[in-house]
């Protein structure tokens, strides 16, 4: 996959994401129950959130953060059991 200049499009550097995301503080995650969130590529911070994917995109735009420089995720609500 190339851009219009024929350059390879690289995703954000996720080499540290798995390690840091696994250690992300649960109390911080709890602030975002039931929300779509965007993590920094190193998995250390939530940089934006929204009730829907659309709201999250709008929050990123408002903050001037490119979509391709975050990790889109979702924090399940507190009383949700996935099946």
């Amino acid at each position: 996959m190339m851009n219009t200049n024929g350059e390879r499009l690289e995703p954000p550097d996720l080499r540290h994401y798995e390690e840091n995301r696994s250690k992300f503080p649960l109390e911080e995650l709890a602030k975002h129950w039931g929300k779509h969130v965007a993590f920094s590529p190193d998995g250390t911070r939530i940089v934006a959130s929204g009730a829907t994917e659309e709201e999250l995109e709008a929050a990123l735009v408002a903050a001037g953060i490119p979509f391709n420089q975050v990790v889109f995720s979702y924090v399940d609500g507190p009383d949700v059991s996935r099946i």
Partner: protein, 151 residues
């Protein structure tokens, strides 16, 4: 070599009866990058051995510049028994656990249905790996198999 991912834990405000009163739930979520014709997107995906396909939201398709106008179409049904349309396209998927990286072409689905998380199902994802779910350690090990088409 293999990829190793920890289950991602979410705290809950009350004890989980089915987990012996534990105050959190572990979930098999892992990060991946989706590389499209115009851009890339990184997402946390939900490994689902019961899902036939790997499915993302149509909003993600828009973010990576994927035109689904003439894409093959189908239907998906969820555990909630709701039906939703899905359109299929080929993208590149990339995963890394920080030690090893894998990237491969995959046919995946995109749906306008409100997906909370992308589903990493058989076609496009699990078909290419031997996946070991270690419930006791709350980790997943992925080892490429002989169908794996990538690097």
């Amino acid at each position: 070599m293999s990829l190793l991912f920890r289950y991602k834990v979410v705290a809950v405000p009350h004890p989980v009866v089915t987990l012996g009163g534990r105050w959190s739930r572990p979930r098999p979520i892992l990060p991946l990058a989706v590389i499209g014709p115009a851009n890339t997107a990184a997402v946390d995906g939900y490994l689902d051995t019961g899902a036939d396909d790997t499915v993302f939201s149509e909003r993600l398709a828009a973010r990576i510049g994927l035109d689904l106008t003439n894409a093959p179409q189908g239907q998906l049904t969820t555990a909630m028994l709701a039906n939703a349309p899905v359109r299929y396209a080929q993208v590149l998927l990339r995963v890394t656990d920080g030690k090893e990286q894998r990237e491969w072409p995959a046919w995946v689905g995109f749906t306008p249905a409100k997906l909370q998380s992308p589903l990493l199902g058989f076609a496009g994802f699990l078909q290419f790996f031997t996946a070991t779910f270690r419930g006791d350690r709350e980790e997943i090990e992925l080892t490429v198999n002989n169908l794996y088409p990538g690097t």
